[in-house]
């Protein structure tokens, strides 16, 4: 049993990061899991980076592409409020749109901008992050959101944070520029 436990512990140490045993554990007893395999000779390499950037997935570029008629109409209304200098009305209208489509990242992105227009910097950044979290890699929306975040950090006097955001913007822009020739 002791030998078995020692073997197991040894095995655990060599399997990088998969089976973390609770620190200070005296080794499994009762119903132990089948032992992991013995040490292996070589670690497989991570997949290599491609030389040519792949064409961007076909991400939606406008809200209309993923929104129902009701949300599209509310977003139009919100845009009008923004143009008329009524960002709070715009935010209220966008929140109404979110009740209909709570995971529409274009709406969250527009809501972030409406908060930025009201100098609600913390909320502008939070909403932009929420949009990023839901956008699942949509580069167009993510780029807009990072612009909002950069402006919100600037507004709050967070120069370092704004510089980080600017770096994100530059990287996204570079990816977009690199991919552009591939898009018809």
């Amino acid at each position: 049993m002791v030998l078995f436990a020692a073997l197991l512990l040894a095995a655990c140490q060599t399997t990088s990061g998969t089976h973390q045993v609770y620190p200070g554990s005296t080794g499994p007893e009762g119903e132990p899991l089948p032992p992991p395999p013995g040490p292996v000779d070589a670690q497989p390499l991570p997949p290599p980076l491609p030389v040519v950037p792949p064409p961007l997935p076909d991400y939606p570029k406008t809200a209309e592409q993923i929104s129902g008629a009701a949300v599209t109409s509310l977003m139009k209304r919100a845009r009008q409020y923004r143009q008329d200098g009524q960002p709070d009305q715009a935010a209220g209208t966008l929140e109404r749109a979110l009740r209909i489509e709570p995971r529409n990242y274009f709406v969250w992105s527009a809501l972030a901008q409406a908060h930025l227009a009201q100098k609600n910097y913390a909320q502008a950044e939070s909403m932009a992050q929420k949009s990023n979290a839901l956008a699942r890699g949509n580069i167009y929306v993510t780029l807009e959101n990072w612009k909002t975040i950069a402006a919100a950090r600037n507004g709050q006097g967070d120069a370092d944070g704004a510089a980080d955001a600017a770096a994100q913007i530059a990287a996204l822009q570079a990816r977009l520029d690199a991919a552009q020739p591939d898009t018809p």
Partner: protein, 767 residues
């Protein structure tokens, strides 16, 4: 002698004149004082107007998951009635896959919506389109008028909804005058004829059976005086009535009367005026009342308690029909209408207050949130319009299953009926809006609000926060990390030795991290917690929204933390929204009584957890539902609907909790006893039974399970926990934070046996 008597006469006359002058002066002064009182009372705001609280409006748009039966149910809740002619607002006509509605207009926060005739088409359980019938135009989006769900009136106070004479159906003022004060338009405040008639009737009876008061006198009595029947008061009343008539028009007096009159009692709330009366008894606006409904309200003026249509329906019917008879005799309705109307049922909405005061637990939350921004007087006097987040459909589902399941659970456990109590909350997953709240099994009773005020031990609902704390350290923990299930004894200074046990008092051997959560094992959780440290776990709880004062002790890993059901909804909401915290909000907007926007309560969120660890935790909480303590939910829910949750059971089965979410809704249910005795129920055998029924009826949306960029899904061999490929028959897919997954291949994998010097070439050029 003659001189003497003459001088006596002079003195007597002088005295009389003097007394008369003094009396006259005093009387004049008295009238001036009364006059001032009247004018002051009538100038400006005559009534303190309680704030009116509205539910969220039902939005209608193509794509909305709502079938025609649901819409009809919603319309009926709003007091709409079926009438194919669609001649007045508040009517609808329902067919298969189509409903026509004459929607009421409403002054929304962001603009006025005019009354309009709408055609709503359906395909199965989904709205496919909305048309403006009069313009024959498709509409993208419309709102129904929101339901009035309560008002904020002072303790022992009057509640009313103000109306204008110009807005009421003409039958009401005419009928009121015909029944209560026939000579209203010709007398000068008092009616000698009426007083004589009443006097004779009273003499005959030997006591007061009839009042000779005009409407003006009744108004004065309600406004200024007590109802004590004294000569002094009678005299005051008559004088003031005449003074009032000299200052104001008949219409102004009648309008004031219709807003002042007492029409019923609802606990400590006095229902005043026909505007509120219409809502209180019929759940609709005054201008939609039909003759027999108007007759009932007019009849109530004589004695709202004696003729209370909910308590004394027979008396109320007789009184209504008598009033309808007066309407007919006065030519206000035809004989045919009279004959038809006396056959109609009273049509009074059931239960406590009908539409108003229906949701005491939720309205209590609204009041508390308003108290942060408004003074009491603003709320009880200014007639504010409060727009809330309550979704009446969700509320109905939550109420139904709490009310129905508690007796079922009691019966199956052979408990005395009424032993159990319960509370529940439903919030929107991404915004933290409180959609429904129940504070006890007597859902209409405004008593102890358990959803807000009970602080009960949360038991295993604490575990997700222990595991989340671990998953935030990908260098140490992932879902496949193995944790021991071994006895633990903890000696803390000044406390007895703490030796937690598993729920089933058994040991199960080493467990994968996700399985320990799914099966709600105590010992692995305590081990994990100890390695993370109680302060780190408590910090996670606070970030998720916990605001209590629990100490950072190991007992918090197993839920020695007191919290309310709404607070648990807040904490689980943070997980449901991908790591963004939002405080539970019950209010969207506030308007002045004139309909001007006053304040908006904007959505506020804050990212408190990274999306990766939250995704992993949610994955494990889905295992709770598929293979763990929540799995019986799938006896009701469709297997295609991915939901995440956690059961909670406390020591000696005092509390039974279940908390969880789909993509759009977070629901928390608590079942227990007010005396904190054992119920014998676990989270799964108690609260889960309510929870799964609520989630099913809400048609909760499935979690989408698209991993964020920080997460990679790795196919692994469950036996070894190592990477699998097509060769491994039992391979499962497990999410890991990027670069934290296993690197080595499992023995079953083709790569596993071929790992050799040339492997890197294969990796580059593919297989």
């Amino acid at each position: 002698m003659a001189v003497k008597s003459r001088s006596r006469l002079v003195i007597l006359v002088s005295l009389l004149v003097l007394v008369a002058s003094i009396g006259g002066a005093i009387f004049a002064g008295y009238l001036v004082k009364l006059d001032r009182e009247i004018r002051e009372r009538f100038a400006g705001a005559r009534w303190a107007l309680p704030a009116q609280v509205y539910a969220a409006p039902q939005e209608l748009y193509a794509g909305l998951p709502l079938n025609s039966d649901d819409l009809v149910h919603e319309l009926q809740r709003l007091g709409y009635r079926q009438d194919a002619r669609l001649e007045m607002t508040g009517t609808y006509s329902a067919g298969a896959q189509h409903v026509d509605v004459y929607a009421r207009g409403f002054d929304f926060w962001d603009g006025v919506q005019a009354p309009e005739r709408l055609g709503v088409s359906f395909s199965g359980d989904v709205v496919t389109g909305i048309t403006d019938i009069d313009k024959n135009q498709p509409l993208d989006l419309v709102r129904l008028d929101p339901m009035l769900i309560g008002s904020i009136y002072p303790k022992q106070g009057e509640d009313r909804v103000l109306i204008k004479l110009s807005d009421v159906p003409p039958l009401l003022p005419k009928g009121l005058v015909a029944v209560e004060d026939h000579g209203f338009y010709s007398h000068s405040g008092i009616s000698i004829k009426a007083i004589f008639r009443a006097g004779i009737a009273n003499l005959r009876a030997g006591h007061v059976v009839q009042g000779g008061s005009t409407l003006t006198q009744q108004l004065i009595k309600n406004f200024f005086l007590t109802s004590k029947q004294t000569w002094n008061r009678k005299f005051n009343e008559a004088s003031m009535a005449m003074l009032l008539e000299s200052h104001y028009s008949k219409d102004e007096i009648l309008e004031a009367y219709m807003n002042e009159v007492h029409l019923g009692q609802d606990g400590s709330r006095a229902v005043h005026g026909f505007g509120l009366g219409a809502h209180f008894y019929f759940n609709k606006p005054l201008d939609e009342l039909r003759p027999h409904e108007i007759a009932l309200l007019v009849g109530l003026v004589k004695g709202p308690s004696y003729y209370n249509p909910r308590r004394n329906p027979q008396r109320a019917t007789a009184r209504r029909n008598l009033v309808l008879g007066v309407f007919r005799d006065e030519g206000l309705i035809t004989d045919a209408e009279y004959q038809a109307d006396i056959q109609l049922p009273l049509g009074v909405v059931g239960g406590r207050g009908g539409g108003v005061e229906r949701y005491p637990a939720f309205v209590e939350l609204v009041k508390r949130q308003l108290e942060n921004d408004y003074k009491d007087e603003d709320l009880t006097n200014e007639g504010l319009r409060i727009f809330t987040t309550l979704d009446p459909r969700v509320q109905e589902v939550l109420e139904t299953h709490i009310v129905e399941q508690l007796p079922e659970i009691e019966k199956s456990r052979k408990m005395k009926a009424g032993t159990l109590e319960a509370a529940g909350a439903v919030t929107s997953a991404d915004r933290g809006e409180v959609l429904a709240l129940v504070g006890g099994r007597d859902v209409r009773f405004p008593g102890f609000n358990r959803a807000l005020d009970s602080r009960r031990s949360i038991g295993s609902l604490a575990k997700p926060f222990v595991y989340l704390t671990a998953l935030e350290h990908p260098e140490q923990y992932n879902l496949e990390t193995v944790i021991d299930d071994e006895p633990i004894e903890l000696k803390l200074p000044g406390a007895p030795v703490w030796a937690p046990k598993n729920y089933d008092r058994q040991l199960h051997g080493p467990q994968h991290l996700y399985m320990a959560l799914a099966q709600s094992m105590n010992l692995p959780t305590v081990r994990l917690g100890l390695s993370l440290g109680a302060p780190a776990v408590l910090k996670t709880m606070h970030e998720a929204g916990y605001d209590g004062d629990a100490k950072a002790l190991p007992s918090i890993f197993l839920g020695a933390v007191d919290a309310s059901p709404l607070q648990m909804a807040e904490m689980f909401g943070t997980i449901a929204s991908g790591g963004f915290h939002a405080s539970p909000s019950a209010i969207r907007e506030v308007q002045t009584k004139e309909g001007k926007p006053l304040q908006r309560y904007p959505l506020q969120i804050k990212q408190v957890f990274a999306d990766g660890p939250i995704y992993l935790l949610t994955w494990a909480m889905q295992k709770v539902m598929t293979i763990g303590t929540g799995r019986s939910a799938y006896s009701l829910l469709s297997p295609d609907t991915a939901v995440a949750g956690k059961s909670g059971t406390t020591d000696d089965f005092r509390d039974s909790w279940f908390a969880g979410f789909g993509a759009d809704r977070v629901t928390v249910i608590w079942v227990g006893r007010d005396d904190n005795q054992s119920t014998g129920l676990s989270g799964s055998s108690g609260a889960l039974r309510v929870w799964m029924r609520v989630m099913k009826d809400l048609h909760v949306r499935s979690l989408d399970n698209i991993p964020p960029a920080s997460v990679e899904e790795v196919s692994i061999d469950p036996d070894s926990g190592l990477r699998a490929d097509a060769q491994c028959v039992d391979a499962i897919t497990v999410p890991y934070l990027s670069n934290a997954g296993p690197q080595d291949w499992a023995p079953c994998a083709a790569q596993g046996s071929q790992n050799g010097p040339m492997q890197w070439l294969k990796d580059i050029f593919g297989h």
